[in-house]
Each structure stands twice: as structure tokens, then as C-alpha cells.
Symmetry: C2
Subunit: 424 residues, 2 copies
Amino acid sequence: MRQSELFSQISRDFPKDEVSVNARFLIRAGFIDKVSSGVYAYLPLGWRVYKKIEQIIREEMVAIGGQEVFLPVLMPKELWQKTGRWDSFGEVLMKIKDRADKEYVLGPTHEELIAELVRKNIHTYRDLPKAIFQIQDKFRDEPRAKSGLLRGKEFMMKDLYSFHATRQDLDNYYEEAKKAYFKIFSRCGLKAFAVEASGAGFTKEYVHEFMVKTPAGEDVTVLCDLCGFAQNKELGQYKAKKTCPNCGGILKEEKTVEVGNIFKLGTKFSEDIGAYFVDRDGQKKPVIMGCYGIGVGRLMGTVVEVHHDEKGMIWPLSVAPFAIHLIQINHPEQKIQNKIQKAAQKIYNTLTKKNIEVLYDDRLDSSAGEKLIEADLIGIPYRVVISEKTLAKDSAEIKRRDSEKVEFVKLSQLLNYFKKALNS
Amino acid sequence: MRQSELFSQISRDFPKDEVSVNARFLIRAGFIDKVSSGVYAYLPLGWRVYKKIEQIIREEMVAIGGQEVFLPVLMPKELWQKTGRWDSFGEVLMKIKDRADKEYVLGPTHEELIAELVRKNIHTYRDLPKAIFQIQDKFRDEPRAKSGLLRGKEFMMKDLYSFHATRQDLDNYYEEAKKAYFKIFSRCGLKAFAVEASGAGFTKEYVHEFMVKTPAGEDVTVLCDLCGFAQNKELGQYKAKKTCPNCGGILKEEKTVEVGNIFKLGTKFSEDIGAYFVDRDGQKKPVIMGCYGIGVGRLMGTVVEVHHDEKGMIWPLSVAPFAIHLIQINHPEQKIQNKIQKAAQKIYNTLTKKNIEVLYDDRLDSSAGEKLIEADLIGIPYRVVISEKTLAKDSAEIKRRDSEKVEFVKLSQLLNYFKKALNS
């Protein structure tokens, strides 16, 4: 894409009303815009990142047998009364009336409707196990939404739900889902730890939270860097031990933004909603459920919290809005400028024809300094500069965003260079 | 996908509380489920269709320079007060308060927020023209939501917005968008007509609605089948003419679901919100806007209204949940059954390895009659039957859903047959 055609503009300053690193960088660089406290719009650069994260999650959900669905935001009060959560969910639950005074919940999560679909679609043990997931807009009336994409009033979430005839089958699937979660975080460039935690009124043993180390973290986790053992400090199981009970390594306290969680729901929702199946023995039994959430926007915000420096964001290639930021350094002398533009356009055409994603800074009214500062802010993995200086060597200057090293590559070798670099 | 693993079940009966053809078929076949009046959940089969329609729309929007964004459902009251629509939108507008008594709109459309983004991101004539679009959940408190996916309280919509420095530039882009719309409908298997209409309080000449002929239609349009001339009867321009003013063909009154509309908004929203740019002449001027909507769920419902018979749905290949419905007809004798299963599984593996989408009816507890009736209801374009009878000829029986013709194709030729058929 040509940067001159990009809808969003880069701001000169950081937004005044944001304190979190992710919101400050993402808004300033034009990835997102703040609409209201905890409510953000995704602009073209941000939506490209979002879509890549979403696709990674989708692939890993399909790989563990998840079938994609899409449930509505509006759910009738009656469904939420059946589980008691119309009242017990508290002020976080957003409620609305229609013109006929019928009341609805704006879904903060979807267990009630999922159990209702299970009631309608699962009848015997032969219909089990199954798993469905969705990637969808959710709503929580958070009292303080100050962490950018990490905690929103409205936020994108992936929620997977699994259904089982036996506890053993749930246990097995739960472990499979845990592995898929580690894969997702790793593919997004994050090292996550699974922590046993107390969650939403369910028994402690039933919950795992996935934590990522970041100074913006709202939790404290005790981590063993050697084996990955992790324990939520608030659970009180830490007891001032300094050595890992697993491997004997040294335990450290770290700030951690939870990026996902998995629950063994058991039969709470299927019993409340009436989702029963006939088992092999002819008995009617409640379907055993698990649920597995990832905040997609939150994951995007976490990537920024973990991967940035003082100059801007440093996107991992897998989720970067573009692989290459091609920058044409303008020259006041028209003849030289023509040569620079011609070379840059040729590179742009050559790379994009091979489906390599390039943001081409073709803007004529920006100085070299502005362009390089903005490129660092945007944080695309590879920066390719074309200037009078590089063309004198018949070359482009290449710099990775996560390194200080600069190298010159002959123009004729550029495509091969990137074919190699981007496949690695 | 193996049908035994599919989450949703096919119902024996049509839903009792639905009158529209699309809702009756889609719910019975397990494509969607009704959550509340005008509120539907997309189940795996339905979501596959939805995603294909969405991708067709996305491709055509990108082809006319649209940049994808994603705006929130929640928009602050203040923004909607600036344009007067907080009051003038009427009871259709869904409003909600948060715990701090701050009021929001649940977006039924997004002109206000779009104009606000234009205000922030477009400053001079050099920033124009631009176009952004989103595909997203929208909310309207419809008094009567009885048409299935054709008219929902909550519904998926694509909305494109374009921004221009001159009226001429808007006019040119409007014509480009019109062509893109015809392409979208045609790719989805629909023949659409563009009708001038009166729309939402804007001048008549500024609006085109895209109409599709269907007995479920809520509008009456005067159509010329010869040249495609179309006129909305309610505009009163028809005046009992029987011949087309364009080509002299015969005009007919037809029932038509509107599936999309395009507006020349002009400067209404940019003036109200304050989205101005500095033109070449140094003058500050309001940005000229156009907007272009398609109800994605409505389009899906329309495809069903147009493409069905008394047995069920008939999906055009481009938007079908699967290209092929492979049906294994079970046999009571285990030795023959093994042979049938082996052959069907081999076909399934061969086709799916080539990325051909196959729904494989591997269910052991359904009779041949049930399977064939359900296949007609689901409406996948190609039905491939493997039975004792077909294997005696070393063949599969192939039938297109939209034809009565049955043909036998040698198993060894099946892959080649479909490579050819699906590319056409």
C-alpha cells in the first residue's frame, strides 16, 4: 500500500488522555482511535494487525476441532435469569430494553446461549464430543478502562466452548486446548505462562490463566524462567519459597495482563439451561462443558506492551501490518528525485507482485527525518530505504526494526533477499 | 467435514414461529438459530456461507480502493446530538447508559463516527479522495422483525464511506461503487436492479437502492427485463406506463427485499461534525461524502429467497457452505458396508487434499431416504452418492442440486471431473 493513500495520519504527539503504552503508541501511529473510555475504533493499520492475530487464533481453534459460529450481542433476559447471572454478574453486565420493554443483555460472554444451542443440538452420547468457537464483539461496563486495548468496555474476544460426555474426555480436551493456547501466543511473538488461578466463582483447580510478562501488568505472578512453572501470587500458595518446586530453579516475582483463560465449567450451565444427553447406559445426564477465552484486542495490546522501545512499536513478523516499510528519501533536484522514485516504485511493484506486503512511503511532502522517525513508531519489521546515497551503490539500505545493524543490498538481489528473510 | 461431527442438527420440522422462506429453511437445516425476534445466531453451516459472501464483498471493496476498518458498536450520545440524529432517528435507535450514566447509541449505521475520523485524519486536498469500509454488527429496534435474515434487530452489514474534495470526484466514485455492487450481487448468484429511491430524508436524486426480484419482497418495483431499467413504484414516477422509456421493452411490476443502497451524502455530516479540509485555493471546505451499504446477512437471506425449491435451498457454488455433499448409503451387510465406507473415505480424502470443500455424510444411523431428503434441504451444489449400486459400476452417482439429471462417473475419474466442474 502507498502511504500517501493511507486513511489514517500519524500524530505529532502522544494522546493526552491515555496512560498505557499500547494505547499511546497505537493511537499516535494511527492504528486505533479512541471513541470513548474503553471504546476504540480500529483504523486500517490496526485492523491489519488484528486480522492476522485473529487468523492465527482461528487456525489453532480449527486444528483442535473447533467449528466456527457467530452469536448475537443481544441475548434475552430470560436466558440469563435461568443461570442467575442476570443478577449475579453485577454492574459489569450491560442491559438494554427494546421498544416493547423486552430486556436484553449485551453479551460479556456467551455460556447461556451456548448451553441453549447445546440443548437444541446435542441429544445422545453419539453427538459428543463437540467444540464450537466464535470471534466477536463483547461488552463489559468496566469501572476503570485505562489500559487501552488491555481492558475495554467493548472488546473483541475469541471464545471456544467444548462439550463432553465424560469428565475424562473434558480433561483430555482441556490439555489439548492448553497446548493450542501456547501455540497461539508463541506465534504472536509472546512467551506465555499458564497459571492456576481462582476464577469467577468456580473451583480453583478448574481454571488456568495465561500470563505474559510486561511492566504494564495488573497481576503479580511467581515465575520460574528455567521450567516455566508459574503461580499466581494472590492465591497465597507462594509462601515465600525462593526455589521452584518443579525444577529447583530460582523463582522471581514478575508483573504480568492476563491474555487468555480456560475453565472446566463442568455441568453448571447445562443443568441450569437444561442441556442433557442420553448416555450409553440410557441415562439422561447434563453435558459436561469447558470454555476457553482469548481477548483478541487485548492480545494485540499485549504484543505492543512487550515489543516496543522508546521510539515506537516493534511488530513480530507474524502479526505486523506489513512485512516491509519501503521509504523513498526525496531529493530537491528533480532529476535525482525522478531516479529515486523510479527505483522505489520498481521495488514496490516487484515485491507486491510476489504477494509480499509492503507499505511504500511515497509521500513527497515529508522529510527524511520525519519518515524515519515515523517508521520507527509504526514498527514494521524490515525498513528499506532508497535514497541518492543508496542508489550511488546501486543498492537499498535494509534495517530490521529490532536491530541496529544496517546493510546494503544490491537492487537486483532485493527480491531474493526477502524471499529468504520472510520465509525464515 | 464429516457430517457426524457437525455441531448443528437438522430438524424434522420447520420452525413454528417463522413465516419467511429464508428463516424456515435456514433454521430447519441448522444454518442459523433464532435467539429472539429479529436476533439470530449463525451456526457452522450458516457461518461458512456468511464468510463467503463477506469475502466477495471485501474483495470488491478493496478493488475500488476501500481500506478496511472496524468501528465500535457503542457511540457516545454527544456525537449523535451534533447531527440531530439522537432525536430524529426515532424509536429504531437503540440507546444504553453505562454505570456512570453516560449515554451511548448502539450503532445502526456509522456516519457520525466516520465524519469524526475524517475530521481527525483528513486535513488538506492532498489527503483526498479516500474510502474506508467495515463489515460489522449493527442494531435497529425494528417494530416487526418477521422476515428472517431480511430484517433484523441485530444484523451484519458492510458499510463503505468515501470522501472527496469535489462533487465531480464523488460522482465518479459513486458510479464505480455502483459497478462494484452489481459485481457483488452477480458473484452471489443474484440479478440486481439499481432503482432511484427516496431515502432517509436525503434528496431523491442522491439515492440508489439495489433490488432483487423475490416473492418475499416488501417493495414493488417496475422492471424492464430487457435492459434492466427499474423504477420504485412508490416514487410515483411510473404513471401507468407499460413500455420502458429506455428501450421500449415491456415493463412489469415485481415484488423486490432491497439488498443494498448507495447515497451521495454531500456535506451534511462533515458540516455537523466539523470535518473540513483546506482546498487548493487555500479555502476551508467541508469534505464531500458518499456512503454505500450492503446487509450481509440480508444478502444471505435473499440468496435463499431466490434460490430454493419446495425441497430446500439451492446454493450457488460461490457462496455454498461446501461444493460437494458426499453421501455414503449404508448397507446392512458388514462386508458390503466396509467396501462402501472405504470407497467414500478414499474419495473424501482425495478431494479434501486438493482443497475441495466436501461435506461427507458418514453417519451410520441414517437411512438412504433421510440422507437424500436432508441433502436437498441443505442444498450443496453437487451431490455424490456412494452405494452398493454405484460401486457395482465402480462409479459414484453425481447429481447437481439445480438439475434433475443423474450421471455415473468412474471413481478413478472423479477428481478430474470436479477439477473441471468447480473451475467453470
